[in-house]
């Protein structure tokens, strides 16, 4: 007894071919690399891998990565809230142009993002001599790493919030204000509850990129062990020294971060299905 195929359903052979191709593609480009990281990290046993993420240099890199994210994320949240409020709640000329400018860092190569701060704050840069006179280090120091990270993660929060706030309109806020609520009160009681999931989504993506940024940070860091090495830079140094277990052990830690990020992201998409997929 054969079942009639619905006219909009693909024939079985087509399904098999497509699923096989997709499977081969995803396995060779996504899944095997992920397995490689954990396999290489534990090649000499779990204790060796654990040792590699607990030694002094690794700890220093973990600490610096956490500090960088702890400054970058709140900064971009503050900026994202200001920018989305200004853009979504008022009408003014050149609005699309302003949104394009905020999105600009996504179109800039990470290496160029690092380079621009070297040109501004480096020894040969605009403020180089002045900074030298006042003994302030930005490039090859933590402030440069934070600045470069802020640049590459700049649009994440704003671009999640702008469409959400625009969709919501201004009626509720205008009602709150006309009943005597202050601007801040209006934001907390009316706007914030509507955008909180979108905000969390932006924070999640911003944090993942801040902890994982490599190109921009690599240009401004100077790779000083224990001082200006973030986790991704530590991975690079160990890898180039042929300490593969060490490199992949720290990489495995970053992989876990990525997996946690993806799980939380999937959960947020369940809570708020209209959350658009992050594009970077």
């Amino acid at each position: 007894m054969s079942r009639m195929r619905h006219p909009t359903e693909d024939p079985v052979w087509a399904k098999v071919v497509i699923l096989t191709l997709v499977g081969l593609f995803l396995v060779s480009v996504l899944i095997l690399p992920l397995i490689t990281v954990f396999f290489e990290a534990t090649r000499k046993g779990l204790p060796a891998a654990l040792e590699a993420i607990q030694n002094e240099d690794a700890r220093a890199s973990i600490k610096l990565t956490l500090i960088t994210a702890a400054i970058t994320v709140p900064f971009n949240v503050a900026f994202g809230l200001c920018a989305s409020w200004a853009i979504a709640k008022y009408e003014f000329p050149l609005k699309p142009f302003l949104i394009t400018l905020i999105d600009l860092p996504f179109s800039v190569s990470p290496v160029v993002a690092g380079l621009i701060y070297v040109l501004v704050f480096g020894a040969q840069g605009w403020f180089g001599p002045w900074l030298l006179d006042h003994d302030i280090k930005i490039i090859f120091a933590v402030p440069g790493i934070v600045l470069a990270t802020i640049f590459v993660t700049f649009p994440f929060v704003a671009r999640e919030l702008i469409p959400l706030m625009q969709e919501q309109g201004v009626d509720e806020e205008e009602a709150a204000v006309s009943m005597g609520a202050s601007g801040l009160r209006t934001f907390w009681s009316v706007t914030a509850p509507n955008v909180r999931w979108g905000l969390l989504y932006g924070v999640l993506l911003c944090n993942a990129r801040a902890m994982g940024e490599f190109g921009a940070v690599s240009v401004v860091s100077g790779h000083i062990r224990g001082l200006t090495n973030t986790m991704p830079l530590h991975v690079e140094i160990l890898y180039n020294e042929y300490d593969f277990v060490g490199a992949f052990a720290v990489a495995a830690l970053l992989c876990l971060l990525a997996i946690v990020t993806l799980v939380l992201k999937a959960l947020l998409e369940l809570v708020q299905p209209q959350s658009r997929p992050g594009r970077h």
Partner: protein, 288 residues
């Protein structure tokens, strides 16, 4: 004519002036936004153009388009283009499978598509380099045939494919979901076979989103650094990408040279931004 009508007409005559809003905070939030945007993004970006313009025009041309720089652009843009096309082909198949088919571990597969957004590029770089090296799990399959993947331009394509993978899938998915089944049914009931339906009904509807996804993947891949440098081999005139050339010139304290290549890359990025916006405007017109 009432007072409100008059004020509405006056307001409509002055479209460039901000509509007066009852909501407070415009000056503050706009001021903070513009200040931070200028300090973090616009002023530092202008440093690149200013640094590059310190040279004479022939010097600029020499720094921007010498033989080594040209081979680096060719690799960066060429590999990014090939990777974007690969993602275009497999992205449409992946999105189709995710929307239309049922298969085991579907939600897991759906979640892992976004891995390139979440995984640090350096981690992807060392994992891909190990996997596609001649003694790696995949590299070893090709080594007997004399095909080297890691440390050749082929490796660059692999890394850029990884980086661009989610763009095509994620831009296509919502369009495929909205694709009305009744149009397909109509085509089928009018006698079109499945192949005709796909070719003449489904693919044209996906066109703009598909192109947008491919363009986004290309734009991201052109500037990519972290995932590429571990697998590229980084041989001058052979497997050196343009962002790597910037870091090399920085290490040699050739700031003007580094800024020059950055200007060329920024010009391409802005061109891509323009192209993507044009595709999206075209898609909106088609949708109306």
């Amino acid at each position: 004519m009432t007072a409100t009508e008059t004020s509405q007409i006056v307001a409509s005559r002055r479209p460039m002036i901000r509509r007066r809003s009852a909501i407070p905070g415009f000056a503050l939030t706009m001021g903070v936004t513009l200040t931070i945007l200028s300090l973090i993004v616009l002023i530092p970006l202008s440093a690149v153009a200013l640094k590059a313009s310190e040279q004479t025009f022939p010097e600029f041309l020499q720094a921007a388009f010498n033989e080594r720089a040209l081979t680096a652009y060719r690799l960066s843009f060429g590999a990014a283009f090939i990777a974007a096309i690969i993602n275009g082909v497999f992205g449409v198949l992946t999105a189709w499978a995710l929307i239309r088919y049922q298969f085991p571990f579907k939600s897991l597969v759906n979640g892992i598509i976004d891995l390139p957004f979440a995984l640090p590029t350096a981690v992807a770089g060392i994992a891909l380099a190990t996997l596609y090296a001649p003694n790696g799990w995949i590299g070893a399959l090709f080594a007997p045939a004399g095909i080297k993947i890691a440390y050749t331009p082929l490796g660059v394509v692999i890394a850029l494919t990884f980086i661009g993978l989610p763009f095509v899938v994620r831009t296509l998915e919502p369009v495929m979901r909205d694709l009305a089944a009744d149009v397909e049914e109509a085509a089928a009931s009018l006698g079109a076979n499945r192949f005709d339906t796909i070719l003449r009904v489904i693919l044209p509807a996906l066109g703009p989103a598909w192109l947008t996804g491919i363009a986004l993947a290309f734009a991201r891949a052109v500037g990519e650094y972290g995932s590429v440098i571990f697998i590229a081999g980084n041989m001058p005139y052979k497997s050196e990408i343009a962002p790597l050339l910037i870091t090399i010139e920085l290490e040699q304290y050739d700031y003007a040279g580094a800024a020059t290549i950055a200007v060329v890359m920024l010009a391409v990025s802005f061109l891509m931004l323009f192209v993507i916006n044009a595709i999206q405007a075209w898609a909106r017109r088609l949708g109306q």
